[in-house]
């Protein structure tokens, strides 16, 4: 590609940004009689409907020592209703070709259906029964609990998963986000049917819920159907106190987990920011350049493209309702672990010490702005978008505002947030590896 061609591309981009405003989501927002906030985007191109409900019932609500309760509750809800056995719910769902699931994330529990338009009333009815009249029978909950533990045993075989879970536990401790939504085999084993029923009663409340509907329906019919179908779970959930700020003490805090495997699975990081933090967009641009931008990022360029040390390497700020984390994640053959760690730390220092180039900043902004439509190009991603704009207060016009939010980030901002948030001298490192081959030595890895 010649430079001349590139400049033409840039020109076209500038033109599209003006035109990109018409996202045609045409979001309607209403508050329902039962207290829930409903956001609707009518999409009539295909005869199908997706609906997602976010309850304030995520894993951050798990009581101390009861990790996994939010997830066990979520998954138990689809295991039968007052009038139907678990198998009947599954049969009905599958017969319609619909999908119906309730899953807990860290911040919220998400109940979601996708259905053909012709089965929309029946699938909605089924979801309403599952959420407002769940069976929650002892036997079903205990069976689900045993499946959850079996799933955890399976995930324990994945070194990347083990590194992630260990990192979160060390970083967040007993705070929210300190355990995965599915808990640990030990914590799940303590959960009782009574715990589940209590959690359900407390947190599945429409007054604190957000509902997103996307598809071949009209706003009016959706509003009526939900107000009629979802009764008995009105009320709100008390807000949760903000947890104490995370501070990683100076130094490298290394945790080694020994496995008979060929690669070192590394997670390196520290505290990040909440989604609502004013530096959020500056961090997005900075992190794209550092390690979030795939082949356009420095970490991929150095660790993968030039050195051939890893297939996958990247960095990210995980930002939720509360302060989240920053992490670099990579896998490399055991013997390269020290070299890879050294390169990661060096990249953090470089972006702190030397301002990113104009071209890097420009490319990052062009990607973030230009690719925005890719994030809302089908029903499932539009539904997720609607939930997020409401839950994180982004505004119905967020898609239109987004380009300006990114454009306003300056080169100085990028360097400032790199200095303020990256901590190459105070980090946690979790290494799941063959430890004798990896011989991780942070002092030798960290020569600066």
């Amino acid at each position: 590609m010649t430079p001349r061609r590139t400049s033409i591309l840039i020109l076209t981009l500038a033109m599209t940004l003006a035109g990109a405003r018409c996202f045609a989501l045409d979001i309607k927002r209403v508050t329902l009689g039962n207290g829930a906030t409903l956001l609707i985007s009518e999409q009539h191109q295909l005869p199908m409907v997706t609906m997602a409900i976010a309850f304030d019932a995520g894993a951050r609500r798990d009581p101390q020592g009861k990790g996994g309760l939010a997830q066990l509750t979520a998954q138990s809800l689809t295991e039968g209703t007052r009038d139907m056995a678990a198998k009947q719910v599954d049969e009905k769902t599958d017969f319609m070709g619909s999908s119906l699931a309730v899953e807990a994330g860290q911040d919220y529990a998400n109940a979601q259906i996708t259905t053909l338009k012709r089965y929309w009333p029946d699938t909605l009815h089924l979801l309403a029964a599952v959420l407002s009249q769940p069976g929650l029978r002892d036997a079903d909950i205990m069976r689900k609990r045993s499946e959850l533990i079996a799933g955890l045993n399976s995930q324990a075989e994945q070194p990347g998963y083990v590194a992630q879970v260990t990192f979160a536990k060390l970083l967040f401790g007993d705070r929210p986000y300190g355990h995965p939504p599915e808990g640990t085999p030990e914590s799940v084993a303590t959960l009782t049917p009574q715990d589940v029923r209590q959690f359900y009663k407390q947190y599945y409340r429409l007054g604190s819920a957000v509902i997103a509907v996307v598809g071949d329906v009209t706003a009016q019919e959706v509003k009526e159907a939900i107000e009629k179908g979802f009764t008995g779970i009105e009320g709100t959930v008390a807000p949760q106190a903000e947890p104490a700020k995370i501070e990683v003490a100076p130094g490298a805090h290394v945790t080694k987990i020994d496995r008979n495997i060929t690669q070192a699975n590394l997670t390196l990081g520290f505290g990040g920011v909440a989604r609502s933090h004013p530096d959020y967009y500056r961090l997005q641009v900075m992190n794209y350049i550092l390690g979030g931008g795939g082949f356009s990022s420095r970490l991929v360029r150095e660790v993968r493209s030039k050195a051939g040390l890893a297939y996958s390497v990247g960095s990210q700020f995980e930002s939720g309702k509360f302060q989240g984390s920053f992490q670099v994640v990579l896998q490399t053959k055991n013997a390269s672990a020290n070299q890879a760690i050294r390169m990661v730390l060096q990249q953090m220092r470089d972006i702190q010490n030397t301002a990113a180039t104009d071209s890097e900043i420009d490319s990052a902004k062009k990607f973030l702005i230009g690719s925005f439509p890719l994030k809302i190009d089908r029903q499932s991603t539009i539904a997720s978008f609607l939930l997020q704009i409401e839950l994180y207060g982004l505004g119905l016009d967020y898609a239109d505002k987004y380009p300006a939010l990114i454009q306003s980030v300056s080169k100085e901002d990028v360097q400032r947030v790199a200095r303020a948030y990256l901590r190459p001298d105070a980090y946690l490192l979790v290494a799941v590896a063959n430890q004798s081959e990896a011989a991780i030595n942070v002092a030798s890895a960290d020569q600066h």
Binding site: M1, L9, T12, L13, A20, C22, A24, L46, P47, M48, K87, D90, E91, T93, D94, F95, G97, S98, R143, E147, A150, G151, N153, S154, E157, Q158, P159, N260, I261, T262, Q263, Q284, G292, G293, G294, F295, S296, R304, K306, G308, L309, A310, Y311, Q331, K333, S363, F367, I369, G370, S371, F372, P373, L374, K375, D377, R378, Q379, I389, L394, S436
Partner: protein, 472 residues
Amino acid sequence: MKTINLRRRSLASSVLLLAACFGAIAGRAFAGVTDAVKAVTLPNGLRVLVLENHKAPVATFNVFYKVGSRNEQFGRTGLSHLCEHLMFRGTKKLGPEEFSNIIQANGGMDNAFTTADYTNYFVVINRAHLDVPISLEADRMTNFAPQGFDSEKAVVIEERRLRTEDNPQDALNEISQAQAFIEHPYHWPVIGWMQDLKRLTLDDAIAYHTMYYSPQNAVVVAVGDFDGEKVLKQISESFSPILNGPKPLPVPQVEPPQAGARNVMLQHPADLPALSQSFHTPNFNSPDSFALEIAAVMLAGGKSARLYQKLVVEKRMVVDVGAGYDRQSFDPGLFTIAAQMRPGVKADDVLEELDHELSRLREKPAGTDELQKAKNQEQAGFLFGQDSILRQAMELGVYEMLGSYKMYDDYLAGINRVTADDVRRVARQYLVAANCTVGVLVPTGLLNHPGAANGESGGVIRHAQDMRQSPL
């Protein structure tokens, strides 16, 4: 839907499998998807498919090359996938990774994957910039000049470690496949055997590109929010000047019929046992393929399916169980059932339950409701798949490579024609012990002790881990 993660084309399972279940929606509302496709053959033989889809302001451009591990030779396995990686390492005009950098700076995301049968390069991009991937793909079809061969080969070797060496279920998949196929090149994994990978050279890759990356051996597909005529013109202008290389070599091997059950046992660092059953089956060329699709759904499509109810819910023997049938393989492939067991569960006990369920399928015709349920699941999956332009493009491209993109529409009718007797008949014909390869993973423990077994295997094979979509 079918949960299956052990295939030589795992991407086919994750991206295409749902879409592979298409059927008629309420008779005919969506039967004519391909009527709107503009199809053209350029003078150099390149097939071009263009479909307008104005759902969202985005577009996708895909290039399919009819080359995969199926085209490789003993001792040179993994070459297709390595070549795919090298396609990102520069041309006579572009430096390494510049392709992706330009796409991203234009608001797009790009990636590629290799299967046993074909290699796909795809871009999803802001609709205003579809001209960018069109010209860049034309460039790397003809100006292949990769730099940094050694480091890219090292990346692929790391990929193999990640996907297979340290992934017990994939390791089992690899060795089972090698046991199921003796003569046919489906014998070896897409990513290649480790020792072969280490020997591959830049010259190997250049010769491979010359042979297989030419217009006569490719299909390009564009779907999205654009003016189809304009896009056709852009494609024609960019690709028409490209000359063909030598004619690709045929793949003459035919797998001999399997005569008798085969068993393979893999000792591998793992904590949980796992198993698989693989049966030789015909592909899309056979009318039986529709009944085999239905059989897979009846066995493992959704929580109400037979194997899920029996093994997960009732007997509590397995963590998960999946059944998958690869109807779209170029040559006849496998019908596979796979399960990861709970700790302490014996493979023989699970196999006994599986045998029981398969004999039920062979003996008793499915009830009307159960058959209809499977058809409904396929139909819904078909429609849901159309919500993604990338999935639409992939279906069109794969069918075109198999013979004609028009087959996209035929699937509907095929699924609807399946009777309970058909399902029983194909179960009797194919899902039988003498046609089965049983793979059993014997876990040797993940805690470190020197000298433990070291497994090898295949999987999907993407150019890069998908870039985490930047958050909102």
